[in-house]
């Protein structure tokens, strides 16, 4: 199994407040890694670093062997490829949804890929069916319930078919049935060879899906 993500001695601070200290980890392609730790320990920051939204003050990050740095992310093609390869589901679904309807939200990504309108439409419909949100297609994302927003945000990332999925508290705020649905989908994605990184407090989710667990202790692994 080749290495999808390699992080070496990653340190990060927001101003004077240190968020990550000497984090080193290797995530194999097709595996599932769970990031576990108390609130404010830096899990979301690490996911943002993996997505090239935040850059470490120190350390090295390789994505499929290619270094990801502030300079490399300035290259438009490289950064777009990275964002297609890594799908990031934010902790706060409100922050992820900006289109006027759920359908437009989900089709936003596929429309920017070099695929036909029909294919993009098929992808959007498939994702809605998978997440059981077909009935919400015309609704405005902002007015949905917390669980529905979460499912919409998962659907709009899945429609881009990323190789790596970064999920920040993916089942927080979902009812039991929706949690089971999400878990089932994640298992299917893992079977399809996707690399999954989950930041969560949920032990059941970790037990059911994670191959490895990485524990954080207030900014330190």
């Amino acid at each position: 199994m080749k290495t999808a993500i390699y992080l070496e001695d990653i340190c990060h601070a927001y101003g004077s407040s240190i968020s990550l200290r000497h984090i080193s980890l290797e995530i194999k392609a097709g595996s599932c890694m769970a990031l576990k730790g108390p609130n404010g320990c830096g899990k979301s920051t690490l996911l943002k670093i993996i997505n090239g939204l935040v850059f470490p003050n120190k350390g090295r990050y390789l994505l499929f062997g290619e270094p990801v740095t502030k300079e490399s992310m300035k290259n438009e093609i490289f950064s777009k490829k990275l964002h297609q390869k890594i799908g990031y589901i934010f902790q706060d679904s409100n922050a992820q949804l900006f289109s006027p309807s759920v359908y437009e939200e989900i089709i936003f990504g596929p429309l920017q890929m070099n695929i036909s309108q029909e294919e993009a439409d098929k992808r959007a419909k498939d994702c809605m069916r998978l997440l059981q949100i077909e009935h919400l297609a015309e609704r405005a994302p902002y007015h949905l319930s917390g669980g529905e927003k979460k499912k919409t945000s998962i659907a709009c990332i899945l429609s881009m078919n990323p190789e790596i999925l970064c999920l920040d508290e993916p089942i927080a705020g979902l009812d039991e049935e929706s949690q089971e649905l999400c878990l089932d989908i994640l298992k299917g994605l893992k079977k399809a060879g996707k690399t999954i990184i989950i930041a969560t407090h949920n032990n059941d989710l970790i037990k059911n899906i994670a191959d490895e667990e990485y524990r954080f202790y207030s900014g330190r692994s």
């Binding site: 004077s16 409100n94 920017q112 498939d126 996707k194």
Partner: protein
Amino acid sequence: MEHNIPDWMNLHECHKPKRDSRRFITATLKSISSASSLFRSNPKAYSPADAPVMLFISIALIIMTASSKNLYFSFVMLSVLSVRMCLLEGKDIIKAFLTALYAGIFSAIILIPSVFFGSPHSLISISLKTFITTGIIQCLSISSRWNDITASLKMFAISDLIIMSFDLTLKYIQILCSTCEDMLNALLVRSIGKNREKAASLSGISGTAFLKSKKMSEETGQAMECRCFSGHYERKIRLRHKAGNIISIILFSLIAAIFIYLEFRIS
């Protein structure tokens, strides 16, 4: 329950992105971050005196500078401001100086016609006063925490409700800036090709931010009702730097004396 994922999800995606400037996202992100940092509580606030004292001195100095008819006093204030700016950190000196300089240059440009109408003196004195007053405000906002400044308004007999409105405004500006930053990041990570509707994406973000602000204000109102809010909002003024306060007041008295001397003796 079995949920089969679609076939295309099993395939490896070979995405070749098209070139399309994302400057509209990055530029908006940058401007929101800078707006947000303006209002963010400054953890390294290093004012030599407490906020109420600094606020009083700053307001008094601005009034004196604006009302002075004597150019010598403007030069005195310019040297005082230079010394005050030197007490800031390097990065902050540049920020304060450049902001004041831009304001000064802007007022000079507006006043250019006055030169042709026989009042070239106004161009120098008003531009100089704009530079000084903007510099004083910059020094105050950089070296004092915004929350301490709003609490100090109590000293000027401003009602609790107005102070509370200021506090809530400051808080929600930060929250909304951070929401907009997150939404722009979400747009950035999903802008993986050519976005033909850039304006629509940005208007979606501003629309969501507007709805969020409306919802937050309603929720704050409801939370206040639940906590039996009766219009009483007390912020206490705490004085910590005793020596700094005394030295600042002595220096201010000296400047006030110079102002009185120059205004009433010489002119």
